[in-house]
């Protein structure tokens, strides 16, 4: 329990009035910048790096912790309210969060997201404290075959979001996979579907795809069918979570970290895949299947919690491994102060590391304290008249796409994807599988080819770890389960 003693010392550093002030400023700045379109947490931390130059390292990192959580929550806010996710981990939040917001439950969706971030971050950070050394060892043993096995599992899970018509869901997934193919092949640098354009060489960003399909697609769709009768303003509704909401969400909040934390610990985990897996899990387990697609609060709570838990800085602090874009920027920040994260950091700078970990906790508490009361205010944003609301969504979607790279081409791509989104709505193709295809496709391909290359081309390289084999067994069970259930003996037993 040595770690917890160190953590207490860390709180001694993080709870001084000055540190608390830095953390609070960080949370506010982070939220304010995170809600801006096109600026995800990584960009927010990078942009705010100069703000911290005047501070000592401890103060600076405490402020970072605040900025980080603030920006993550800010990204989810626009995702829920305006259907325009600011970063890839917030994409899933739009799926159930935006319908909630449109039916007047925006405040509840925001509260579910905020509490989700809080519980996910808390549990994730606690696990980090307790398990850091063991997790570090495990993470290193994790290789390409294991990643690929998880991707296969994720693809199986996609089938549950294909919607009522399988063939239309598959069409959507394949559209996503094609978009994911655009760009330079990661392994050999070959151009694929770029048609010689350098702007396409890095592929099409998931955020552009999501904003195009969700926000632009919907704005166009609504424009084509706008109710000509005087639309009522979206009601704001009760500001707080009702007892019923809490009953539906508490399990989702707790399950999120179970999915998110392992991904945060492994080197190439990232936060998108756990949010999506959490979404699918909650959908499977939900008792309110009819609500899905129309604003199921579990679908916001679970993924947000998973995202936060995956975003802990565990493997960066213990191994110097940045698992997310934010962690990479933080790594750069460490180096600015002449600190090298890695195995020696805990020994060399214990005060700073434990101060940072403690301030992750403090940052989350402040986030909840500052943003929960603000949720109803944010939700009022939707009361502005429809014409301005959709004009604003188009405007901010364009800002987000343009500000990041300053390329007009991105706006054209955004519009084209928006038109695709329009067509998908018209003909009942679900949008989510396409977004998942963009996320999973390139990842799965890269890990598959990396695994094969490491084994020098031998297919046995895909099943040479116990973990991968275990995952394939699970996959086989899921696929075969419907068949097995038909076997009379089993059916009797189940009955």
């Amino acid at each position: 329990m040595d770690a917890f003693g160190d953590l207490l010392d860390g709180f001694g550093t993080a709870l001084t009035p000055l540190s608390l002030l830095w953390a609070a400023i960080g949370v506010l700045l982070g939220t304010a910048i995170g809600v801006l379109p096109g600026i995800g947490p990584a960009m927010a931390v990078a942009l705010l790096l100069p703000v911290t130059y005047g501070l000592d390292p401890t103060g600076a990192f405490i402020m970072f912790a605040g900025i980080y959580y603030g920006a993550m929550f800010g990204g989810s806010t626009t995702s829920i309210l305006l259907n325009t996710p600011g970063e890839s981990a917030a994409v899933v939040a739009a799926m159930e969060g935006h319908p909630m917001a449109k039916s007047g439950r925006g405040a509840q969706a925001l509260a579910a997201a905020a509490i989700g971030h809080f519980t996910g971050g808390m549990i994730g950070t606690l696990l980090l404290v307790a398990l850091a050394p063991a997790v570090a060892d495990l993470a290193v043993g994790f290789g390409a075959p294991d990643y690929f096995a998880i991707m296969v599992l994720a693809f199986i899970a996609v089938t549950s979001v294909l919607g009522a018509s399988r063939v239309r869901g598959l069409a959507s997934l394949l559209i996503g996979l094609v978009i994911g193919l655009v760009g330079l092949d990661q392994m050999t640098g070959q151009q694929r579907l770029t048609f010689g354009s350098l702007q396409l060489a890095d592929g099409i960003d998931v955020v552009i795809v999501a904003v195009g399909l969700f926000a632009i697609g919907e704005a166009l769709w609504v424009a084509a069918h706008l109710r000509r009768t005087a639309a009522e303003a979206i009601p704001v509704g009760r500001p707080w979570l009702g007892r019923d909401d809490v009953r539906r969400t508490w399990k989702a909040w707790l399950r999120g970290p179970l999915i998110g934390f392992p991904f945060g610990a492994i080197p190439a985990g990232g936060a998108e895949i756990p949010t999506f897996l959490s979404y699918v899990t909650e959908k499977r387990l939900s008792k309110h299947r009819d609500d899905w697609g129309r604003g199921a609060i579990e679908g916001v709570a679970g993924p947000e919690s998973a995202a936060s838990a995956a975003g802990t800085l565990g493997s960066m602090l213990t191994l110097g491994l940045p698992t997310t874009a934010v962690a990479a920027v933080m790594l750069a920040a460490f180096q600015q102060y002449g600190l090298q994260p890695g195995p020696l950091l805990f020994e060399r700078e214990p005060e700073l590391v434990w101060g940072l970990i403690a301030s992750l906790f403090v940052g989350m508490v402040l986030l909840l304290a500052l943003n929960l009361p603000l949720a109803p205010l944010w939700a009022k944003l939707l009361r502005i008249p429809r014409q301005y609301l959709y004009a604003g969504i188009l405007f901010f979607a364009a800002v987000g796409a343009y500000a990041v790279g300053g390329e007009v081409v991105d706006l054209v791509i955004l519009l084209i994807i928006g038109l695709v989104g329009f067509g998908m709505r018209r003909y009942g193709l679900p949008v989510l599988p396409a977004v998942i295809g963009v996320i999973l496709g390139p990842n799965a391909e890269q890990q598959l080819r990396r695994a094969l290359q490491i084994s020098d081309g031998s297919v046995s390289g895909l099943v040479n770890t116990p973990f991968a084999v275990a995952v394939y067994v699970i996959v086989a069970l899921i696929v075969l389960w419907p068949l097995l259930r038909r076997v009379p003996v089993l059916r009797r037993r189940a009955g």
Partner: protein, 175 residues
Amino acid sequence: MSGTGTPAAAGRRSWLREHSELGVCVLLLAVGALTLFDALTMHVEITQRGPVGPRTMPIAVGAGLLAVAALLAVDVLRGGRGEAEGGEDVDLSEPADWRTVLLLAGVFLAAAALIEPLGFPAAGALLFWGAAYALGSRRFDRDPLIAAVLSLVTYVVFNDLLGVPLPGGPLMGVL
């Protein structure tokens, strides 16, 4: 689409309108063919290890698209329909208002084209006002001002406060 023309032509037209989803099949087919073509014309000179190279995935996805296009066509011809998405602000009982959609897409493209010559604030304001106009707002004495202020504030936040540069317009460096 008034009732000119022979009954047979009208019948064909209404059949096509009923089965307009076949257009989706054609698009999927085209994208699939394009993906396959791109993969098959790729020059792969690097020594490939194992069965999976840079072409494998595009070929699989392209073939998948062709298959799905065929399956969807069968489904549509058998009477399957993709259900158009409903929603709070959506009224599906009226026919689609193509004028608004085209106007919005046009405004968006115009803004994209004007962003470099006129600067972000002007193009952004045009986008907002144009979109609001397309969606039915007719407050000419108010909308341009709202759009200009929104766009200018966004410009200042990004350009001056955050250091994300956006083009300022033709008067930069003149005033």
